[in-house]
Symmetry: C2
Subunit: 310 residues, 2 copies
């Protein structure tokens, strides 16, 4: 360790755990990743897992911790009740819930709920990432896209979350690839898709035009039977179709903004979304997902008086 | 048996087999159902299965048979190559392919292919049902909806199949219910959905407006967490969402006709589609699915000179 830690920042998701040690300026002193997500912690206990990681990292036994993610779900460590939108990101971070009897000062950032009966929705974890992104992009009206298993789109207006929606695009890809008739088209292990794949772009462009998934899914199978579409291109077609339809649907709901879409993603999936947004005629501003969650956790620690304002 | 059979009519699907004995007027003399579909026949052989059923029914060993369905697939008894649309139903039935060495005169009705690169599609089995339906509804321009695992919509204009599309709505319901996060919402065994269920109607109406599936799927989960949507209503929501989106999408592709939508379905699924079409402001004409396939097989037998014209 190069410097004395002041606080631990923890992103505790369903299947993953990330822990950072931060100094008093919020800079990273040490970090580690583990697969002891919610599903593991429900059996082993949250406190023992966190205690062990912090001890292994040489942190003092009374080091405070700021936590985001599924640890705050009803079935998590302690429930951090949803904050309803619209709500300012500052108020959301400020509503972090202390965990009684944790042996140290642990607070969990709440998730968000949208109780609108026509578009009910929830998020947990992404609100912290979002706070990091919003600080980076500043004031004004922004549409933020956060790809993943359950991709979130969020309207952020001058630091307030005005509304959001979930498109389960990653999950759809996976269930269609594994459990539908398309498993014959994509093969046992779907090939990775590159953003410059012409089939990806073609299916994406079509789906961007009307957001229609149901009309085209079986077409992937038929294109294999009739036109010899191979397994790798079938995966590209499914990916282009689902991502294109998602972008059409989300921009229809939230409208287009004067500002570029803020894309919180990195790696291959981020690159596919960047290409698809470009095909949809949308300007894109990239934000790093890992950096965003860390900077959101630092902001949450400050907002709750666990770190002095930077 | 009340009368001497002249021909056997056979609907040989992926998982089911139906055999009728018909007299010289095309009237049913005897019938039976079995679960020896394509998947079983690939192992046991097609001829032995058909021979045994016909023998058990007391039919002569040289009784001819007209067959439709997956028995004509590449991986079936013998491949009956797809007929390309547009094509008249009379020509489609007339393209039945003889099975060499079957020990009796067996002919298999071909499936249909649509090679349009933007909407590639195939069907096998439904073309025969469609011929039965088309004979019933007569000339004019009709849009035919055939619900099922892979629901088919077909444009039939004066006895010619002008185009068709597949919406895998039944399959989507099943993979989302069993393999997505919605399995927590719907429970282990999704409840049957009634057409007068208010949640079914509400989600159907919303989806009819824009055909959007991706924007709403996760809302079923969120409505459970936030608004206490129960398991039975979650199944109703998913069903309404998928059927409503399908109708929006199919009517967008084919346009609305002056004639009612011809709904080839019976039982609970047919009732859901009838309600959904009504909610979409579409007039509906019902056609019985079982009767349709039988009358299509009779028409195919006549068209191929296996029965005298009725």
């Amino acid at each position: 360790m190069s410097s004395k830690p002041t606080i631990a920042a923890v992103d505790w998701g369903t299947t993953r755990l990330r822990v950072w040690l931060l100094d008093e300026a919020g800079a990273v002193v040490d970090e580690r990743r583990s697969d002891e997500g919610l599903l593991t912690a429900q059996h082993k206990g949250f406190a023992p897992i966190l205690d062990r990681h912090l001890k292994d990292m040489g942190a003092p036994g009374d080091l405070p911790a700021i936590v985001c993610g599924m640890a705050g779900a009803r079935q998590g460590w302690i429930e951090a009740p949803y904050v309803e939108v619209p709500s300012s990101l500052s108020d959301i971070l400020g509503a972090a819930v202390p965990v009684p009897g944790a042996g140290r000062d642990v607070r969990i950032v709440p998730g968000l709920a949208q109780r609108n009966p026509r578009t009910p929705d929830v998020m947990r974890g992404e609100e912290t990432q979002l706070a990091g992104v919003a600080a980076e992009v500043g004031s004004g009206s922004h549409l933020v896209c956060m790809p993943g298993t359950h991709c979130k789109w969020v309207g952020v207006d001058d630091g307030t979350v005005s509304g959001f929606g979930t498109w389960p695009t990653g999950e759809m890809f996976s269930v269609f690839a594994q459990h539908s008739i398309l498993r014959h088209s994509l093969g046992e292990k779907p090939a990775p898709v590159a953003p410059d794949n012409a089939v990806f772009q073609e299916w994406c462009r079509e789906a961007l035009a009307d957001g229609d998934i149901g009309a085209r899914l079986f077409g992937i199978r038929a294109a294999g039977l009739l036109n010899g579409l191979g397994q790798a291109d079938a995966a590209a077609a499914l990916s282009g179709l689902l991502i294109g339809a998602e972008i059409a649907s989300a921009t229809r709901r939230f409208g287009k903004r004067d500002t570029p879409v803020v894309l919180v993603g990195s790696g291959p999936l981020g690159a596919l979304y960047a290409e698809a947004l470009k095909l949809g005629g949308l300007a894109v501003r990239l934000a790093d997902a890992d950096k965003a969650v860390l900077s959101g956790l630092v902001a949450a620690a400050r907002r709750n008086g666990m770190l002095v304002e930077g």
